[in-house]
Each structure stands twice: as structure tokens, then as C-alpha cells.
Symmetry: C2
Subunit: 135 residues, 2 copies
């Protein structure tokens, strides 16, 4: 099969139906954690304006921006803008959120260590928080 | 800056100059391991025909195929072909190699746990091994 370079790298997966996100977000699990390699890897696609709730990871997370324009913010710091090819290392136990900018879909790969326990989900990101100026 | 969807996701990085690879291979380190998150993440670009030596990772490795056609083989198993979007979990301490097919560049993201120690590099992949039939 010929590869179309304009096609997404990973399948979009399934729409997330829990309450941990605002807007429409798709999840494709790529790698499940196991007892030896305790990282899970997933591709997450945010429609424009969609974002996660505030949350934290006991062992941190690595984000790889694959396409589109994304937002990322840690509690107490300004929002930053993510472009294709950007990478973020979220420290353990730091409240943060991520999502798409308002104008285009954002695709990220999330690499999450499960060693310290599951993600702790918190309150939604308000429109005011979402729309703040970026650093 | 407008994003060109045909541009690579990650920069190509620097040519690898050690003897652990056959052919021309570029490395772009994306995330360094630290004491809390012991995973390193790197983008590796193999020119057609280029491949790693046989090697093993004490805590295993996750590969994400980003573009092109790649090969992956574990010792004692047939070579498999990797397409854009494929993912591989290399078990710990299993000898394996990976690289590009003969006709096009192959780009992968490698997620490597450093918990168990450094990668152990072994002998080059011979042309006979490289050219064997795929599963």
C-alpha cells in the first residue's frame, strides 16, 4: 500500500466518553503498561477548543506534539503553545492540562508512567483559563 | 508559521557516528531520562537499507513507526515489516535490530527505559539477515 504522507500517523481511535475532558477528544491506545515496562503510550486527538480537565500523574508524563496547535499549562505558570514536533515532560504530581488551540485539531502522543499509580483527575479548565494569553 | 503537513514531525537531528549502525542514521534526542522519569525518547531516521546492530535493552523499549517502511526482528523470530503508525514493544534483554527497508527512509520514535541500565550493543546485522523474508 502506498503511504499518504498527509494521512495521520496513528488512527484516531474512539471518542472519549468520560467527564475528564471538555469538547470532543479521541483516544487510541498504542501500548499498554505491563509489570516490566510500566509506560502506557496513547495517541490523543483534540478537536479545536477541546481540552483535558486539570489533572496530575504520580510519575509524570511525556507529551509529543504530532500535528496541529496545542496548549499546555502547569498550575501557577502561563499557558504555552505546542507545535508539531514539540515535546513536554510533565513533572510528577504537578497539576496541568492540555488540549487543542481554538482553530485546528491537535494530535499528541502521551507516554505515561504507571509506576506511581493512576492519573488523578480534577476540575474542568474554565473558558477563562483556556482563553488566557500564552507565554 | 503555517505547518506543512508533508514536513517531518521531528527534526532529523545529527548523523550517528558510532559503530552501532550500518548505513546512515540520524538521531534527535527529544527527552532525556532523569531520576524520576527514567525514559528517554528519541527520533531515529534510517536511510534506505540502514539498520542498527543487534542489541538489547535491560528494561525494554517501545518503538513508534512515524513514516516510511521499517524492519524489526527479534532473535529467533522472523523479521517483521513496520508501517507508519505501527508500534512495537521490545521485551527486556531480547536481542533485536531495527532499521529501514531498502527503498525508503524510515522514521521511528524510540522510548527507552534506562531503569535497568544502558543498551547492550552486539554484532552488525549481516546482509543475509537484513535481506531475509519477512513474516
Amino acid at each position: 500500500m502506498m503511504e499518504q504522507k498527509t494521512e495521520p500517523v496513528f488512527p484516531k481511535g474512539e471518542k472519549i466518553t468520560n467527564n475528564n475532558f471538555t469538547g470532543t477528544v479521541w483516544l487510541k491506545n498504542l501500548i499498554e503498561a505491563d509489570s516490566i515496562n510500566q509506560n502506557s503510550v496513547a495517541c490523543v486527538t483534540f478537536e479545536p477548543g477541546a481540552r483535558s480537565n486539570w489533572h496530575l500523574h504520580p510519575s509524570g508524563q511525556i507529551l509529543l506534539a504530532i500535528s496541529g496547535i496545542g496548549y499546555y499549562q502547569e498550575k501557577g505558570s502561563p499557558k504555552i503553545i505546542l507545535h508539531k514536533g514539540d515535546v513536554v515532560k510533565c513533572p510528577p504530581n504537578i497539576q496541568h492540562w492540555h488540549g487543542a488551540g481554538p482553530d485546528q485539531e491537535f494530535v499528541q502522543v502521551a507516554i505515561t508512567s504507571r509506576q506511581g499509580g493512576p492519573t488523578e483527575w480534577l476540575q474542568p479548565v474554565t473558558d477563562e483559563e483556556y482563553n488566557q494569553s500564552a507565554k
